[in-house]
Symmetry: C2
Subunit: 455 residues, 2 copies
């Protein structure tokens, strides 16, 4: 198989070097790893096509690989696999400011794109923290700190090009703000984690850089009160651009890791993006009033762009701060989302349960969307088993409340066991879709859908 | 078949009265009609299920019918058909203000829901003009005047219950603000025009009624200049809530039809929804400045809520005003959407082409989305053939520019002929989806997908 790949694609696009295999047999969050047979570094949709055809012919699986920043096991092989790395397909093909449109290859990362857009007064708003590839972000339906205002990948990907399991290169959707033409396969592929097609190109909706930005840290007595504050803001219909909760333990870890001196108290990070100074002042003053009523005990506004950037860097480094605080452990990030009114109770439940189970970790996340994470650092063995039990109980509670096992990280291998419970009879219809688009099961087998209905 | 339906569902749910058949064999915009064999007035998902099973057994087609307000022929039978009317399933099952959530049966109309929500300080924003059923709006992926700010049905339907072709009742999606769990069949069913499933229940995302609303009519010398003005506003990233173009002919027709005295000039209808008085003032002052630079010659702000309501009623009555101006004709509404920068040129092209072909009609629409309509009133025969040629040329131009044949009205029968050109190889994958979900072709056959690749 490797020889056939080299013959077809040339040797510089195919690697079996141990370091390459090792880097492509894991992700950033799943504890298990498994080596692929080879890594293909695709440079075009045709390379993707050829790889899929060969893999099908030889009975191999293909796992598309972007920047490797996913965390639920979507990248880990479960049978003989060719890892299909799209990192070389990293050209920004077109930027059309008047249409708020960028056309990019799948391997372009979000920071690379935003760097290019800076001088156009535009940005691509989806912000999962990691410098993920845009193809990977589409494949996992990524979202993040700005989703409460700008939406996630479905809203911000207008169209995409994908290579189907049989090797055909197909475009889904049109680069316009809206369309009601035909079946929405674009949104079906988004979030399918490489199990229905390999995304190779994206037409992205850009947003104007906000004229006015106001960022403030808001302190609370406890993490539940902070969640209540977030709920109060959402209820007032204020156009918050970011609304993040960070608990005192995450702040303490960040202070140590990055040498900061933020007050070590539960806080909300709130940001407004407005079109005029008057609007941003009025909105943030109203927000402050609501937050005070909800129990906020203090406010620190970012006074400069540097301070703002530093604050969001701190938020995004919370995971790595935990890793540095507790090195050599397994790290598990929970990702439930619940209806907004249930979110404060859910945050309190998570905190109590973490203490009850004697686990070390943080709570933080996108509370404006009802989605938050706990990050647990557990020693392999018993403690990791407790962390898994913790995750399972959060998911069960979320599902009881009408919520979801995964707000934004996807299913991968880790969340498959909840799919039957979350989706009920819909799961069988998802299997029909998989069978219709990838009848031979070439594309990332064993992911998203559980092997049996029992999970 | 009718007897079996009556046996299974009871006689009060099944009608073969000529008036019922006639009302269910047509829509509000497609010139051809055809009678169904019977109309079933379903009162539950089980009724829908039983109807689908019987129809399949007897080789009948089933066409789901909401409020009958669609316009592209989606409701017109092309083979022996049971029309499945969901109008009796009109209960608002739950409103949860804290979760910004309403749960409704598919036959609830948008006005019915908004009336119920008025006292909660919430509304359901998708506004196609007609008082459509929410199930029908989901089935056709409806959008409208507020989509530029609030999105269309995909963004505002969180989850739905549908009856599949084999009669199974299935829920797709979860009532949370976001989820990355499993394949997105919810969005696949939205916009599938009753060809993949019958939507019976919806979990809807509600929005807070804006604290501050500012509505203004902005006048221009010609319709192209008005379109340029809209483009200038969009480019500045102002958070417009509505941005509609109406040409001078539409205004004249509305003045006659509703007894109004709006200046008969091309205009933009612009609305801001803001959280504070200062914000709405700042945003609208900035907008006025941009519009003046873009050539606006006058502004009339709505001074009262009544004046604002009257203005939007006028906008929504433009179609009926044309019907009253030219009674007894066939009316055709074009629905292209193009990238934003192409929109002014496209509007000018439509106006010139309408004049060149000697057609009578109006231009209006959702220019903030790059989507606009022309409404043509043509005498049956030669003139209607010219109207069809006009529509075809607009679609061709839109497709050349990267746009779509239908921004929001859907495909139905009328737009099938453009599907191969718009979607290319994706069309064959849409067929696979249809075959996977409705292998026997019970659900609204002959719609959306053309009979052959040539259309």
């Amino acid at each position: 198989m490797v020889n056939r790949l080299i013959q077809t694609l040339t040797a510089d696009k195919v690697s079996t070097r141990p370091s390459d295999l090792e880097a492509h047999g894991r992700d950033e969050g799943y504890p298990e790893t498994a080596l692929p047979e080879a890594v293909v570094f695709a440079e075009s949709p045709e390379d993707v096509s050829r790889t899929l055809r060969l893999a099908r012919e030889h009975g191999y699986a293909v796992i598309p690989f972007g920047a490797g920043t996913s965390i639920e096991g979507a990248l880990v092989p479960v049978k003989p696999t060719i890892s299909l790395d799209l990192g070389r397909m990293n050209r920004i093909l077109e930027v059309r400011p008047g249409d708020f449109l960028a056309v990019v290859e799948a391997g372009v990362t979000r920071k690379q794109l935003n760097e290019r857009l800076r001088h156009e007064g535009l940005f691509f708003p989806v912000d999962p923290g990691a410098d993920a590839s845009l193809g990977g972000m589409a494949a996992t339906n990524a979202s993040g700190t700005t989703t409460v205002r700008y939406g996630g990948m479905r809203r911000n990907v207008l169209a995409l090009e994908a290579v189907m399991a049989d090797g055909e290169v197909v475009r889904f959707g049109r680069p316009v703000q809206k369309s009601s033409s035909g079946y929405d396969l674009k949104d079906l592929l988004i979030g399918s984690e490489g199990t229905l097609a390999v995304i190779t190109k994206l037409w992205l909706r850009l947003s104007p850089l906000p004229a006015e930005v106001h960022t403030v840290r808001v302190y609370f007595e406890d993490v539940g009160a902070a969640a209540e504050g977030a709920f109060a803001l959402m209820g007032a219909g204020l156009p918050v651009a970011r609304l993040e909760l960070v608990d005192e333990r995450a702040i303490a870890a960040v202070n140590r890791h990055l040498g900061r001196n933020y007050p070590e108290r539960p806080m909300l990070l709130v940001e407004f993006h407005s079109s005029t100074p008057e609007a941003v002042q009025a909105e943030s003053a109203f927000a402050e009033e609501l937050l005070r009523e909800a129990g906020a005990t203090g406010f620190d506004a970012a006074r400069t762009a540097e301070e703002r950037t530093a604050q969001w860097e701190a938020r995004h480094q919370a995971y790595w701060a935990l890793v540095h605080t507790f090195p050599g452990r397994h790290y598990m990030i929970t990702d439930t989302a619940v209806p907004l009114s249930e979110m404060p109770g859910m945050v309190r439940y998570a905190q109590e349960l973490m203490d009850e189970l004697g686990l070390e970790g943080n709570i933080l996340g996108h509370v404006g969307d009802g989605n938050f994470h706990t990050i647990v650092a557990a020693r392999p063995g018993d403690e990791y088993a407790r962390a898994e039990a913790f995750s399972a109980r959060l998911v069960e509670r979320a599902l009881e409340l009408g919520g979801t096992a995964t707000g934004e990280h996807g299913v991968g291998l880790r969340k498959r066991k909840y799919m039957a419970r979350e989706h009920g009879p819909a799961l069988a219809w998802m299997r029909r879709i998989k069978a219709a688009l990838d009848p031979e099961g070439v594309l990332n087998p064993g992911k998203v859908l559980p092997d049996t209905e029992a999970g």
